[in-house]
Each structure stands twice: as C-alpha cells, then as structure tokens.
C-alpha cells in the first residue's frame, strides 16, 4: 500500500504525474506545443481578468450555477422501512448544450484565444463534447473540425446535425471500431500536422499533461457549486458522491473539491454486455496500466500491449482508457470504481424518466443505475449527490434500437 498523502488535491507534479499515472507521452513534434499550452494555462489560472471573463460566460451564457435538485420521487421509490438515501441530482443536463462538457470548452476556448490560435479541433464520442466545442467556436467565430467515429456518427445522429448546424466540419473516422479512441487518434494526427495554427480542445481529463489537470480544473465548478448548494439544502456536506465515468471529466469535476473531505466517492464505469463477455468499457475494473493518447493510465489491452476495443451502449463511455487522476485515486483507494451493464443503464434511464420527468443521458443513466442498486441499503439520513452529467435527447434512437434488439 502507498502512504496516504496529506492532501489528495495537490496533484499532478510538475511533469504531470499523479503517482505512477499521467505524464506527457507524445511525439516530439507536439512536445513544444504541449509545453506552450501548459505555460498559457498556468498564466491563465492566476490571471484575474481571464477568470472573471470565464465566470461571466459560465453565468450568462452557460447558465450556471446549475441547480442541485432533490429527487424526491426517486428517493421515496428506493426507500425501504429501514433505510434509503436522500438523493440529489446536480443538474449539468440543464447547461447550455445539455451537458457538463461546455464548462471545459468555455475555459479552453478562452485559452485558445489567449494563445492566438485560429483553428480548433476536437474528438467526440457521444457528440456532447463536439456540440459544446462547435458551440463555443461559433460564439467566438473560430473554425472548428470535429473527429467522430463512424459508429458514433450513426448512433448519435442528432448531435451530428447539431454540430453541422453550428458550422463545424465533421470528419468521420473509420479506423478501429470507429469510436472515441479512433477519433482521438485522428485528432492527434491532425494536430501534429497543424501545430502552429491549431488548438486541440480535448474533452476529458485524459491526454498529455496539462490536459488532465486543466480539464479537471475547468470542470471543478461542478463540485464547488455542489458544496455551497448542499449546505443550503441540508446544512452539511454530502455523505457520498456518484458519477459515471468514461474518460472521467464529469466525475472529476464533481469529486475534486471533496477529495479531502470525509465523503464517499463512487465512479461508475460501463461494463457493457458484462465484464465476463469482454464487451465492455471498464478500464479500471478489467484493464491494466499502460500508455496511450499521451498519458499512462489503466487501459483495455491484450497481453502484447495492443489496445482492445471498448464497448458500451453509451457512446460517451465507449473508451478503452480513463483519466490518469482516476487511475491514481483508484490505486490509492480514495474512490470506488464500480460498473454497470448496458441493460442496467437502460432500465435506470426509464425509471428516472418516468419518476422524475428527467430524460438522462445514457452516460448519466449508469450512475443512476448504481444509485438504484445501493440507495435502499444506506441509512435514511445519508445524503447522496449524483451528477446528472447530461440530458438524454440524443439517446432516444439508441434506446429504441437497444429495446428492439433485446425484445
């Protein structure tokens, strides 16, 4: 066992490591640019004008703070005679563009402007990050190119239309399984070829340093607001936090401000058709440490170090890796990493929709499914905050197709 640190909040080190994980595993062509992004971000962090501008856009454009909503009907439904947690939803689905992704995009687009970059590229899985990127690029009149796997284009067509409407160029990626990993490969290839002009707006807490830390910082507004809001509702901090995890940015954003508090932290991976079937996206539960996309982290891979394909009904969780800070929190035991199958997520999607009138993203439905599993066994005074990371309008076709396949 590693020694317990005094704080869980001072990572990464100056080379971008969270314990064994993180780092900057990129081609030399990109290295000078990565260092430039890091310098620019470090300056922006301490630049009051930058932070004021960001706060202004988050409030007036994104619509922050997002509400912290007491899900009373779900709470009552899951209560038993002896127990049942009080369940709150942090409503990131109510942000402009419909997910937490825009928090990060707003921060990074301001950084890209500050760095004088006149073109933006991004990868997207479910399309929520692509939509958020296309949105901020429209707002600031910056040309934008989005890499998206062909499998994802098919199952997330509403988001593809939205991105195009917003003026983004969509590049379909056919390599591999045509999902998020492959989109990230091609975005990196574009970046290498266009380093001078282009800013790569990574959508999750992964990639080379400083991205994992930077994206976490931009998403931490979720957890910071939650702290203040739960004090208003309940007069104390929550007992547990729960969020779904693909790359892990909504989870990191909620968790980070609570890492040094006595709060139980649970992240929910996608186990697809079941870990035993091999068709899943549970990097922490079924992967091993390795190096991909600029960082060392847990990866789905074979014994020869070849990356294997992930599977999840949710395009946003369909990635064979995970942010390096999560890998570290996993190994030191600060957070629990559980998993939920496609079927459990689809069931939770319906339960949430019918009980609360909230159509959750299939990603968020994984977190809801785990709440449904455990809430009844928790004491009545247990306060739990779930990150409702996005809305589910984009998933209507996927859910219908899943139900059709599994009639």
């Amino acid at each position: 066992m590693m020694n317990q640190p005094n704080t869980y909040m001072d990572g990464p080190d100056e080379d971008g490591h969270f314990g064994l994980f993180g780092g900057r595993y990129v081609a030399e062509t990109l290295m000078p640019l990565i260092l430039e992004v890091e310098r620019a971000y470090n300056e922006a962090k301490d630049d009051e004008a930058f932070q004021t501008e960001l706060r202004g856009y988050l409030k007036n454009y994104v619509g922050r703070p997002s509400p912290l909503y007491f899900a009373e009907r779900l709470t009552n439904k899951l209560a038993t005679d002896s127990g049942g947690a009080r369940i709150y939803f942090k409503r990131e689905d109510l942000n402009h563009t419909g997910a937490h992704k825009v928090n990060n995009c707003m921060g990074q687009i301001l950084l890209a402007r500050k760095m004088g970059k006149n073109r933006v590229i991004a990868e997207t899985g479910a399309g929520m990050h692509g939509v958020a990127t296309a949105t901020v690029c429209a707002l600031f009149d910056i040309p934008c190119t989005i890499y998206m796997g062909t499998t994802d284009i098919e199952r997330q067509s509403p988001n593809v239309s939205r991105m195009k409407m917003l003026g983004a160029e969509i590049i379909p990626v056919t390599s591999g399984t045509g999902t998020l990993k492959d989109a990230m490969n091609d975005a990196l290839r574009d970046w290498v070829a266009n380093v001078e002009t282009t800013y790569y707006l990574i959508g999750t807490v992964a990639g080379p340093h400083p991205y994992p830390a930077m994206v976490r910082d931009f998403q931490s507004v979720i957890g910071e607001e939650t702290r203040a809001q739960i004090m208003e509702h309940e007069g104390r901090l929550p007992d547990s936090l729960i969020a779904c995890i693909g790359g892990g940015s909504n989870a990191m954003g909620l968790f980070f401000p609570f890492l040094d508090d006595e709060v139980r932290i649970i992240a929910v991976e996608a186990s697809g058709e079941g870990i035993e079937t091999g068709k899943h996206a549970a990097s922490l539960n079924a992967g091993a440490p390795g190096v991909l996309h600029g960082n060392r982290t847990y990866l789905l891979q074979n014994e020869d170090g070849q990356i294997t394909d992930a599977h999840s009904v949710s395009a946003g969780l369909d990635y064979p890796g995970i942010g390096p800070e999560h890998a570290w929190l996993h190994d030191i035991g600060r957070a629990e990493y559980v998993s939920i199958t496609d079927k459990e997520a689809i069931d939770a999607f319906h339960i949430c929709t019918r009980l609360e009138g909230i159509l959750p993203a299939l990603e968020s439905a994984h977190a809801i499914a785990h709440v449904i599993k455990i809430a009844g066994d928790l004491p009545k005074d247990h306060i739990m905050v779930l990150n409702m990371s996005g809305r589910g309008d984009k998933d209507m076709d996927s859910v219908a197709a899943y139900l059709e396949r599994n009639k």
């Binding site: 081609a27 290295m31 070829a193």
Partner: protein, 279 residues
C-alpha cells in the same frame, strides 16, 4: 560489438565511402511473418544501410494511413513483440553488420517490461530504439537501453526550437532522427531548403549523424536530401509497395517482396549517385 558501436561503425563506413546512407523502414510481420522476414533479410543486399523495423501497434498516433494499415495487417496475421524479436534473431544469422533499430510506440514495451524487453532485444541483435511517444521528458527507457550498450535515438522536429534542442540531444546516441515535416508519416514533404536550414541549426547542438525522414518517397528526393544529411529514411513508400501487392484477401501476391526490394534498389541507387554529405 555493442549496438551503439555497430551504428557508429556503419556511419563511419558511410563517411569513408563519401555518401549518405539509406535507412529503410518496414513493419515487422507485414503482410505476414514469412514475407516480412524474407524482405528483411534481403534489405542489405538491395541497398539498405540501416534498418528500422516497425513494432506493430494498434494505435500508431504519429503514423499516416499507410503505416497504420500495415500495422493492422501485421497484427491481424499474428504479429507480436516476441515475433518481432524472432525476426531480428533470424536476420542476424546472416548479417552481423547492418544496424537494426526497432521503431514504435511505448505501450507494448511497457507491457513486456522495459528491462526485460531491452535485454531480449539486445540478445536478439537489436542496436537501438526509436520510441515515438517517449520524448526526453519521459525517460524510463533511457537507462536500461544505455546499460545494454544500445542507442536510444531521439526525434527532433521543425517545432523543436533552439531553446529545446539541448534537452533533446543531451542523451541522444547513435544518430539524431530529424522529422522533416510537422505531420504524420507518409504524407507531405519538406522543401529541401528548409531541411538544409534545419540541419545547420541542429548541428550547432549535436555532433551525431543526422537521418532525415518523413515524406521522402522517390530516388530523386532521397538523393537531394542526402546532400545535407548522413542518412535518409524512407518508410511509407516501401509499405505502399506491400499494399499494392496484396490480393483481395490481403494475402501477398508473388513478387510482393521483390516489389519492395526493387524500390529499395532504386532509392539506394539515387543516393549513391548523389553528392556526399557536406560534413
């Protein structure tokens, strides 16, 4: 003779001959083990002075479509790190002089175990490594490679400025690989004048020989760049020859190996007729 010595001797010989060397890249196991192994063995006779042997990886982020596809073909035919070393071992039975550099990505080495892999590679007859996603900041292979007497070859790019070059060349050995374009393999080509300028800048920071790669496809281009560099790297053009000589099931047609070797001969011929390196 250590790997680093074998590389140094090859560059000394090239200097004595008064010409730039040809570094040929092929992917180990593409289009299958036997054909790939056969190409490898015949490369020196066709004119390869140094061999870069690609270790197939599922996610070759710095490579263009040609090398991506070749990696995938090799993996589909059962390529692995162990088989790549087998191929080197086989090659060494008939060639003790041509340096072999393994090129690829870090993850398969990390999973094999860095120390274990370095030792196995050394034993098999490998002389050096180019690991695309290990910049000098991620130095975990450096010590094991140096201790085994092998070379860790660093890439420098047009984006590597004067402030950064000392960091990159500080631990370099064997030669410096100058990536002549900002981009992936097998796509655009740099202007000769830009390369000339870049190499002058590079030589202010290092006395090691320089090999120039990325985007070099023809005997003429190779000959032109060979005027300024100690070696020229060609990769995607050879890999494309493999691709052109596959049947519709992805199996090599008769003459697949000869097609690759023919292009090697052409490019080597171009280099031999060119002017010597200016250093």
């Amino acid at each position: 003779m250590t790997g680093t010595e074998r590389i140094a001797k090859r560059f000394a010989d090239l200097k004595a001959e008064g010409r730039a060397g040809l570094v040929t890249f092929i992917t180990a196991g593409d289009p299958n083990f036997d054909v790939s192994s056969s190409i490898l063995k015949q490369l020196p006779a066709a004119g390869a002075d140094i061999i870069e042997l690609g270790m197939p990886f599922s996610d070759p982020m710095a490579d263009g479509p040609a090398i991506q596809a070749s990696s995938q073909r090799a993996l589909n035919k059962g390529a692995s790190m162990i088989k790549t070393l087998d191929m080197v071992r086989e090659f060494r039975k008939s060639d003790a002089d041509t340096p072999i550099i393994l090129m690829g990505y870090f993850n398969p080495i990390y999973i094999y175990g860095v120390e274990k892999f370095t030792a196995a590679a050394s034993e098999a007859g490998v002389d050096g490594f180019i690991i695309v996603d290990l910049p000098p900041e991620e130095a975990e292979m450096r010590a094991p490679v140096e201790n085994a007497g092998l070379s860790f070859i660093y890439l420098t790019a047009p984006t590597t400025d004067d402030a950064r070059l000392p960091t990159v060349v500080e631990h370099a050995s064997g030669f410096i690989y100058y990536v002549s374009v900002t981009g992936i393999t097998g796509t655009k080509s740099a202007a000769t004048q830009d390369i000339e300028t870049a190499l002058k800048r590079l030589r202010r920071h290092s006395d090691l020989p320089i090999a120039v790669g990325f985007g070099i496809k023809t005997p003429e281009q190779a000959a032109e760049i060979g005027k300024y560099a100690e070696a020229v790297v060609v990769g995607s053009a050879f890999v494309n020859k493999v691709t052109e000589n596959l049947d519709k099931n992805g199996n090599p047609k008769d003459g697949c190996a000869d097609a690759v070797l023919g292009l090697v001969r052409d490019i080597a011929g171009g280099l031999k007729s060119g002017s010597p390196a200016t250093v």
